[in-house]
Amino acid sequence: MTSNIVEIDNVSFGYKGRLLHKGINMAFPRGKVIAIMGGSGSGKTTLLRLIGGQLKPSKGEVRVDGAIVHQQNREGIYQLRRKMGLLFQHGALFTDLSVYDNVAFPMRELTDLSESMIRDLVLMKLNAVGLRGAHSLMPTELSGGMARRVALARAVALDPDIIMYDEPFAGLDPISMGVICDLIRSLNDALGATSIIVSHDVKETFLIADYVYFVANGEVAAEGTPHDLMQSTLPFVHQFVHGEKDGPVPFHYPAQNYRSELFG
């Protein structure tokens, strides 16, 4: 058993001729909370999809628990996914199922547990995210933060080895953000899992991450502990961490000359 549960080795990937990743290398040690940060469109979520086997790299390999993801057949990929839980950006709860049934879904589909056992497990998972009392509600009756917590309970329903979070803090109020932040760290430690957080929220991510990768221009632009990165003098990292307008990341999308476009 290697010390890294996930390894991204020289991975390149692109859409329609545009190369999104150019030989990225990352390692995710067991039991740690690792963050992948970067601007919008830098390919952070795509990295999660590569780990989950929903996309295949054009070069390099992604290894999960020693197995090369894109070389697996459908059954092999499903075996690997049983070790993973993914929290989608907007929760992706099944809208025709109640909160209880959403959390019970992976248990009913992937295990032979009895309904009474499933009931106990669902209530335990919902209790862990503070929503045991909301088990009978439908997803449309939940706030954004509550939906995210139910999705988290569903993602950890089968106690996965790897928990992936796609923008877990996006669009949440400060209280919900703090709750999710605590939950990510405490669930990781309680389950002995490895957490991979994709985010651009610096404050919350730095609070709980053990190690951070910064992705920019298809490469790992910087990496280190949150403390190291806060002190970093690299222009990109400095601009990102401190939320500065001026820096190597331009505010404007590439366009022709402003004057000539206005006056012809």
Binding site: Q54, R81, M84, F88, H90, A92
Partner: protein
């Protein structure tokens, strides 16, 4: 000219690609159908949504279609002194053609669009991706139960359509117009053949069930994950299903008349 030909070629390639993708989904649906029968409650639930929820529109339409058939049929038949044959005309028209065809058209408009919109929205809100990431096959869990529900529901709905249509025709022909009650039913009994008329009608509705449900499922599965994408997919479901049903009806009728 070259640009026109190039665009025409690209459109043809896109159509052929979609046809291939549809066929691929169909084969995968058949392969992963075991779950739909092992856990039949999943299929039953979908039969309720596609079949039972379509009952009202099917019954009301059938009633009016039967009544109009009787009115129009009587108007023509009485000129030839054959008004007693009104029962046969209504029954044959419904069992052979109108039952399966109109049911399929209504099914495409009511249940087909609902299936496309539901699956399209599940894709848009990443519910299908979530299922995939949980190692649950969405084709086995979402597509196959809906497919078999459509295939099972369609012949039942078509049979109900024909029955209610005959009842509508009876109410117009006998109590309203005054055609002889016994002649209406006996002529129908004597001239409607089980093998040539009823079985052929059931075969048609089964084929339409496969086509309409598969088109609805594919359009939902293939819809771009945007509001506009789902809206276009829903429209395409109705248009393609309707044209497919009418085209298939001609092909099936030709074969049935020859064999």
């Amino acid at each position: 000219m070259l640009g026109f030909l190039s665009e025409l070629g690209q459109r043809m390639i896109a159509r052929v690609w979609r046809l291939g993708a549809g066929a691929h989904l169909f084969f995968l649906t058949i392969i992963y159908s075991g779950e739909s029968f092992r856990r039949f409650h999943l299929t039953l639930r979908e039969i309720y949504f596609t079949g039972v929820m379509s009952l009202l529109i099917i019954i009301v339409s059938a009633f009016f279609v039967g009544m109009v058939l009787a009115l129009q049929g009587y108007n023509t038949l009485q000129k030839y002194g054959s008004s007693e044959a009104i029962g046969v005309l209504v029954a044959l028209a419904l069992v052979r053609e109108l039952g399966p065809v109109v049911t399929a058209l209504l099914f495409a408009g009511r249940a087909g669009t609902a299936i496309t919109a539901e699956i399209g929205l599940m894709k848009t809100t990443e519910q299908l991706s979530a299922m995939e990431m949980m190692a649950v096959n969405p084709i086995a869990r979402v597509v196959a139960p809906r497919f078999w529900a459509g295939v099972i529901a369609m012949p039942i709905l078509a049979a109900l359509f024909s029955m209610v249509g005959v009842l509508g025709g009876y109410l117009v022909a006998v109590p309203l117009i005054g055609v002889d009650d016994g002649a209406f039913w006996s002529q129908m009994q004597a001239n409607v053949d089980f093998r040539d008329d009823i079985v052929n009608g059931v075969i048609k509705s089964l084929v339409f069930g496969v086509a309409c449900t598969m088109i609805a499922l594919f359009e939902g599965f293939d819809a771009p994950p945007t509001a506009e994408g789902v809206s276009h997919a829903t429209t395409r479901t109705v248009v393609i299903s309707s044209l497919t049903v009418l085209g298939l009806d001609f092909v099936l009728t030709s074969f049935m008349l020859v064999v």
